[in-house]
């Protein structure tokens, strides 16, 4: 079991460019989460899928952020027209949906917007 895999580990974009982040959840996990971590804001919830369906995207900045889960083996987070304030570590996590389920996090993608 390779755990949750996130690619790339680091991404540098220029202001206004697009960034696409990839996540491969643990096989068999039906829930996938995206979080963002910064020193100032800490860990912020972005969005959550269950069985590939979007359940809660209340943490997503609506205008430029979008997330998809086209199949059970991967999810993507796309940021259009990146801004310096988007610089953060973007974390993907997966879990089984059952009592006392544990969240398993990937190593994250560090996005730097210049």
């Amino acid at each position: 079991n390779a755990g949750v895999i996130q690619t790339p580990r680091h991404k540098v974009t220029g202001k206004g460019q697009e960034a696409t982040l990839w996540c491969e959840p643990i096989s068999g996990h039906s829930a996938v989460f995206w979080y963002r971590q910064t020193i100032v804001q800490g860990l912020e919830f972005l969005t959550y899928f269950r069985n590939q369906a979007p359940i809660d995207d209340s943490g997503m900045p609506k205008e430029r952020f979008s997330a998809q889960m086209p199949n059970q083996s991967h999810s993507t987070l796309k940021i259009q027209s990146t801004q310096p304030q988007d610089s953060a570590v973007y974390l993907c996590a997966s879990s089984l949906v059952q009592n006392n389920e544990r969240l398993f996090f990937g190593h994250g993608t560090k996005l730097s917007v210049l």
């Binding site: 919830f45 959550y48 949906v97 389920e101 969240l103 996090f105 990937g106």
Partner: protein, 108 residues
């Protein structure tokens, strides 16, 4: 929405001392997890404890659901325990809300 407060913000211990970390949250939680994050490292779930007392290794967590608080006790701390400990409850919607964490440093 759910607010999570963790205390202390930071803690320095001598190796072998015990640590007591606190987590208070504003809404009743149906699930709560404690996580560990090493400096520059990824988040690792330590244990899941929505209510009562749970033990794993040198860790003991006690959650009092109706008082909306949880604690994490680390016994006989080791230098490898250094890092940030985060508490994350959710209210039944699987939307885990994280506290700011307690930064622990254990000195040899």
């Amino acid at each position: 929405g759910q607010q999570v407060q963790q205390s202390p913000a930071s803690l320095v211990l001598q190796e072998g001392e015990n640590a007591e970390l606190q987590c208070n949250f504003s809404s009743t939680a149906t699930q709560l997890q404690w996580f560990y994050q090493s400096p520059g490292g990824s988040l690792v779930s330590l244990l899941s404890n929505p209510s009562g007392t749970k033990h794993t290794g040198r860790l003991t967590s006690t959650t009092v659901t109706k008082e909306r608080r949880s604690s994490l006790h680390i016994s006989s701390s080791q230098t490898t325990d250094s890092g940030t400990y985060l508490c994350a409850p959710h209210t039944g919607n699987y939307k885990y809300v994280f506290g700011a964490g307690t930064r622990l440093k254990v000195i040899a």
